[in-house]
């Protein structure tokens, strides 16, 4: 088998939620041995909270903390060590592990790490060439916001994205889900790769201090520069382009079906007009140049919407792309899961859970890049809590049976949460009723080809879709 980029690299991942754990999951794909540490009394909240997504088949089962979608996607291919770091004996185990690891990732507050004697200077005492990654809202260094609590959803406003996101002339708006977490994930990975290469060449480790706020600010740099130089504050453009017209999101046949179209020059404009069966528009002086089209954007939008309204969104996309006009159907999560392009590129992978997990097969996203000579793949499912306690403590650290039993006895390690969380469970149609979901498809497994059993014979009724729209 081809050598993987991070083969032989051991990573301790003590992060929670999205940013650090997603970096760890991608490192597992790249061949690293990633050990995820959670406290038996302090689970990653993607195991139980509103950040958890949904239980497999919406069934909590007997081990709900092992069945959530977000946890299992993000933490694929890792080993799970459930270790109580709030107690000194637990931290001694962690220190032993640091001594034999290459990378340590955390998202505690700087105060916690110092209190544990696990800040970078102390970490270096344990392992001189350790690469330590700290991810926090505002960075671990100085600064007035250093101690401010932060989460991607509130930072989206503070780092400036909300100011430029929104319908034209309307309120600022939040954009993605936990957007800056992903920027942080990727920053951690870039910095780790640099630090590994530096370590390979120099023998020295380093401390990487990621602050999500400045990453978010960086992605609106052009607005900051426009302010600094031209005193312009930036505005919300909805779906329009700052320089080209027309560009927008147009309604298509069906409920809540849309397609985006972007026209950058006269040639694309002519192609659009001809395809819509309105060649006369190309001779219309009001639409003659890009500048004219910007001026009369509303009028053009109405003409395009008139045409798209009766066509399926994928048909609009295919026909416009066929004549060289950029157009894309607005995909929802279902469309993404079933997209032939993403499937053909191997972006969507099927992960099989061990039988005792009772989760069958699931489709998850892989990585957005491919290497021509090194096929990459998800290395395994997300781990059950504490699944690898013995493997890590005895296999890697060589602890004796006696010591392992003592730690287990003292509750320093565990395979079940010590503080059961209230279980939040809701039927799928109730989720739709409350607006938490747009719709759901009970036959998603058949559509994805991940049925547990051979598919039953099709029935006469077609209850394929339940919710507020029909395809």
């Amino acid at each position: 088998m081809a050598r993987l980029p991070l083969e032989g690299i051991r990573v301790i991942d003590s992060g929670h939620v999205f940013a650090v754990p997603y970096a760890g999951g991608l490192m597992a794909d790249l061949g690293a041995e990633v050990i995820k540490i959670e406290g038996p009394g302090r689970l990653d909240i993607t195991r139980y909270s509103p950040f958890s997504g949904v239980h497999a088949d919406n069934q909590p089962g007997t081990d709900p903390w092992n069945r959530t979608s977000n946890f299992n996607l993000i933490n694929r291919g890792k080993k799970s060590l459930a270790l109580d770091l709030s107690r000194a004996e637990g931290r001694e185990v962690l220190k032993d592990l640091i001594r034999v690891s290459d990378v340590f990732m955390e998202s505690f507050t700087p105060r916690v790490m110092r209190g544990w004697g696990l800040d970078y200077p102390n970490m270096k005492e344990l392992k001189p060439d350790i690469i330590m990654v700290s991810n926090t809202g505002y960075g671990s260094g100085p600064g007035p916001y250093l101690q401010y609590p932060a989460q991607a959803t509130t930072q989206e406003a503070t780092h400036g994205l909300a100011h430029v996101t929104g319908y034209r002339g309307d309120l600022p708006s939040k954009a993605g889900q936990s957007y800056v977490d992903f920027l942080a994930s990727w920053a951690c990975l870039m910095a780790i790769a640099l630090a590994l290469r530096y370590r390979n060449r120099s023998g020295k480790g380093s401390w990487i201090d990621v602050g999500m706020y400045q990453l978010g600010c960086y992605t609106i740099s052009e607005y900051i520069l426009d302010w600094l130089v031209n005193n312009r504050l930036g505005e919300r453009l909805g779906n329009r382009h700052p320089s080209y017209a027309p560009q927008g999101c147009y309604p298509c046949a069906g409920d809540d079906q849309w397609c985006v179209v972007s026209v950058r020059d006269d040639e694309e404009w002519a192609a659009l007009c001809h395809l819509m069966g309105k060649p006369e528009l190309t001779r219309e002086v009001r639409f003659a140049t890009n500048r004219d089209r910007i001026t009369h954007h509303d009028e053009i939008d109405a003409i395009i919407a008139q045409w798209t309204r009766n066509l399926a969104k994928v048909e609009v996309m295919e026909r416009l792309q066929g004549v060289g006009v950029p157009a894309g159907a607005v995909f929802d999560a279902r469309d993404v899961n079933l997209d032939p392009h993403l499937s053909s590129r191997g972006f969507l992978e099927t992960v099989r859970f061990p039988a005792e997990r009772r989760m069958g097969k699931r489709v998850i996203m892989g990585r957005p890049w491919r290497l021509s000579k090194t096929p990459l793949a998800v290395q395994g499912p997300g781990p059950a809590l504490g699944q690898h306690n013995r493997e890590v403590l005895q296999g890697i650290l060589g602890y004796s049976d006696g010591r392992y039993a003592d730690l287990e006895q003292a509750g320093i390690i565990d395979t079940r949460p010590t503080q059961p969380r209230p279980l939040s469970h809701m039927e799928m149609d109730e989720r739709v009723r409350q607006g938490r979901l747009a719709y759901y498809e009970p036959d998603f497994k058949e559509r994805l080809g991940i049925q547990d059993e051979p598919a039953p014979a099709p029935s006469d009724s077609s209850p394929a879709l339940i919710g507020n729209r029909h395809t």
Partner: protein
């Protein structure tokens, strides 16, 4: 013992990419020590025509976007479409470790400059291609545009409100995201090359990059068949953007604060009612909740609320800052986010620069973005060894 000054001081990058994502990818390699040579057509790459411009003057040396993503590079001009130009590119590729490109799939192959061809010149060469839909698959020949990346990743279907059309993120987020992924994938491939000696072709798809942020949505379908949509237009402002006296804020439950803390912060005891006790209750009674909070914030400023909520109540709290706020932000200053750059045409200007801090090998600024063909003499003369008259001939032949 030799001193190693940076992570990439032994790496040379040819950046033939255009726009934002590719140039940003190459620029980040330059920030960490690589020698990046930007290769542009005679008229300059399209990034030079991207607003905003210095003093709104659309001069190819005055694009601020171009400046941002082309720091730390040398620049040459070269016409790849002339056979002589392609030959020169091959010579450069022999001296390089990485090529970054963003052409439509198949274009470089038509010039004999794809990875398979260049690999014959240099077996250790890593080529990173960043394109809207990747090198393979049914959409690979589709035209891309920023808006399409949001539409076809799924992120747009959950942005905006149910009574209106799906909504894109502001600015060019997909391009920044793709640039980061290009750098990351290049670095991991270089690590592998260090071990094996073999270069390879790295295929980055912008659609997949943006889709990768759908971690709470993609598996919701494959776990239980559920599909999220946009938020309802009423009763959903808490947790999203709400108005206050002088602007807008975002307030979230959680962090170090209890729900009672929120009630104290807003000075509204009725928030402690049973109808707001948990997430489910707050969702069902969203309209009442929004009305109470908007009333409570009516006479309060963003700055005061941000400080009080964060410092006194340990709440998760954000304020809608503008580019002006960010340009003068003490937090960013403390993190040395801005780099003062002296550009031959634009003059002195603060440019966003530092993405993260790290010991030993922090990002280092070395030079401004190159003017068009600024380093032709240096690269063609000193690096490739062409005589002055040869360079003149190439220029007259329209090759450089």
């Amino acid at each position: 013992m030799t001193t190693i000054p940076s992570a990439l001081d032994d790496i040379r990058v040819l950046d033939v990419s255009q726009g934002i994502a590719g140039p940003l990818c190459a620029k980040l390699l330059g920030d960490f020590g690589a020698d990046v040579i930007k290769v542009e057509p005679a008229g300059g790459e399209c990034g030079r025509r991207m607003p905003p411009f210095f003093q709104d003057d659309p001069d190819p040396e005055k694009s601020l976007f171009f400046l941002l993503v082309n720091l730390n590079k040398r620049g040459i001009t070269l016409n790849l479409e002339k056979p002589q130009g392609a030959d020169i590119f091959k010579k450069l590729a022999r001296l390089a470790d990485v090529v970054v490109e963003t052409f439509p799939p198949g274009y470089l192959e038509s010039l004999g400059l794809d990875h398979a061809s260049l690999e014959r010149e240099n077996p250790g060469l890593v080529m990173t291609s960043i394109t809207p839909f990747g090198q393979s698959g049914p959409y690979s020949r589709y035209k891309g545009e920023e808006l399409l990346a949001y539409a076809m990743s799924g992120i747009m279907s959950i942005s905006g409100t149910t009574d209106r059309e799906p909504l894109k993120h502001g600015g060019f987020q997909a391009q920044y995201e793709a640039g980061f992924n290009g750098t990351m994938a290049t670095l991991f491939t270089l690590l592998l090359r260090d071990a094996t000696g073999a270069g390879q072709h790295v295929d980055v798809s912008i659609q997949e990059v943006v889709t990768s942020t759908m971690v709470a949505n993609q598996p919701f379908y494959s776990w239980a068949g559920g599909v999220q949509g946009r938020r309802r237009p009423v009763g959903t402002m808490f947790g999203n953007v709400m108005p206050c006296k002088d602007g807008y804020f975002v307030s979230q439950a959680g962090g170090g604060a209890s729900w009672d803390d929120l009630a104290e912060f807003y000075g509204r005891q009725e928030l402690k009612d049973e109808r707001f006790a948990d997430v489910d209750q707050r969702t069902v009674n969203g309209q009442a909740l929004d009305a109470i909070l908007i009333e409570a914030a009516k006479e309060r400023t963003m700055a005061e609320m941000f400080k009080t909520a964060s410092e006194q109540y340990r709440m998760l709290f954000g304020i809608v800052q503008t580019p002006a706020d960010l340009a003068h932000c003490a937090q960013l200053e403390a993190r040395e986010f801005y780099q003062n750059v002296e550009h031959p045409v634009i003059g002195k200007i603060n440019v966003p620069f530092r993405l993260w801090n790290m010991t030993e090998i922090p990002a280092r600024y070395r030079r401004p973005a190159p003017t068009l063909g600024q380093h032709n003499a240096e690269v063609y003369g000193r690096l490739l060894g062409y005589a002055e008259e040869e360079v003149t001939e190439l220029r007259e032949a329209g090759v450089i």
